[in-house]
């Protein structure tokens, strides 16, 4: 744990991960160490803003989100899209959603796409979250769209939990995903985003998705697949063939590394260390072989 903290200490709020499309696969880099960004970032991944959280681990989640937004707004080229990978709010309250929307509207980056985290839907289906973000999907929460040649797929894995506590899509959504991907050219880059990790990171804490293997099987034939998740408030990555799995940091508070605490609650760190454990992810579609995977963001 100490090693992890030391490794992350040097990064500031908003120091995030940069993705470049290299040889068809997005690669991740630490923004703090990256070469100057060439090209327009394709998207910003922001996650786990937890507006409404006010406990010791971070009494000012509005402040840290604002600092994050300022950092992103200062990028020389603004991302064309913003993907929020869930837990916009802490308790699914209308006032929290209102506050979050107001804060996020300060982002200069392009169109906002949001998938729900389990904290956003504690009031069940068809409630606050869907009233605000349900339009794109006919209130289902999952949908897809194309932007700049990339196929984006938004999935919901926080409303159909498996008995073992893992996230799940459920049979309807899985069938929809299969249909959505079928007939698509294998050369089209695919970006899948959902709140809970779509692969099993740590089963005892429910950090995974029950149908992870079935989802990966649908994605394997594509030449470039990026799977983006939040939920665990820290960067964890895995590369499997052409699929890069990535979880983003939170802008609100860190969580312990898998299994390093009695439970996955907020991780208390000295205030000076907190900014180094929060951040966002920026994806840049760069030139071929522009950069390589940076060790500093691997956990």
């Amino acid at each position: 744990m100490t090693d992890r903290r030391d490794a992350l200490k040097c990064l500031g709020v908003g120091a995030g991960t940069l993705f470049t499309l290299s040889g068809g696969v997005f690669s991740a880099f630490d923004l703090a160490q990256a070469q100057p960004v060439t090209g327009t970032p394709l998207f910003l991944q922001i996650s786990d803003t937890h507006i409404g959280f006010n406990k010791e681990a971070n009494p000012d989640v509005v402040g840290t989100l604002n600092r994050t937004i300022d950092t992103v707004n200062a990028l020389p080229h603004q991302p064309a899209l913003v993907l929020h990978t869930g837990d916009v709010t802490h308790l699914s309250k209308a006032s929290e959603f209102d506050s979050a929307s107001q804060l996020l509207s300060r982002l200069k980056a392009g169109e906002l796409h949001v998938v729900p985290g389990e904290h956003d839907v504690t009031d069940g289906p068809g409630a606050e979250f869907f009233a605000r973000f349900g339009k794109a999907s006919g209130n289902k929460g999952y949908y897809s769209f194309d932007a700049q040649g990339v196929h984006f797929v938004a999935l919901v894995n926080v409303m159909n939990f498996k008995p073992n506590g893992l996230g799940a899509l459920g049979p309807d959504q899985l069938a929809w995903l299969k249909d959505d991907l079928s007939g698509r050219s294998a050369s089209q880059p695919i970006v899948v985003f959902a709140h809970m990790p779509l692969w099993t990171i740590y089963e005892p804490w429910g950090w995974g998705t029950g149908e992870g293997e079935e989802i990966a099987a649908l994605l394997r034939r594509f030449g470039s697949v990026t799977v983006l998740n939040g939920h665990i408030h820290q960067i964890v990555q895995k590369v499997e063939g052409n699929i890069l799995f990535h979880t983003a940091r939170s802008t609100a508070y860190p969580q312990p590394a898998a299994g390093s605490a009695p439970g996955p609650g907020p991780l208390l760190v000295p205030p000076a260390q907190l900014p180094g454990m929060l951040g966002v992810t920026v994806a840049v579609r760069g030139r071929k072989n522009a950069l390589a995977l940076s060790d500093s963001t691997l956990v």
Partner: protein
């Protein structure tokens, strides 16, 4: 002495349903007690002591609390017998059972 024996005998009897309020505390991502058996008509209160919010959501949809922040509680009265498995919908690894006789 006779009085004491009488009191002990009373205590050994099943509690009348209307009096049996039960509290389940939520601490460190666990319900405690995890599995309880209660008579029909019992009101159960869940109280969250964690800094992280939790919910109480039955698998069959019979009851579902809002998100309970630290110190918040939720009550539900079990009118008829049955076995009610429930989870925290925020942390579905948290599981417990209420058996109503």
């Amino acid at each position: 002495m006779r009085k004491l024996l009488f009191a002990l005998a009373l205590a050994a009897l099943p509690l009348p349903a209307f009096a049996a309020d039960v509290t389940v505390t939520i601490r460190n991502f666990d319900y405690s007690p995890m599995d309880i058996t209660i008579p029909a008509g019992t009101t159960v209160e869940w109280k969250n002591l964690d800094g992280e919010p939790h919910t109480v959501a039955s698998i069959d949809g019979a009851f579902r609390s809002p998100a309970l922040d630290q110190g918040d509680s939720y009550r539900f009265t079990f009118a008829s017998p049955g076995t009610f498995k429930y989870i925290c919908s925020i942390h579905p690894k948290m599981k417990a059972t209420i058996t109503v006789r």
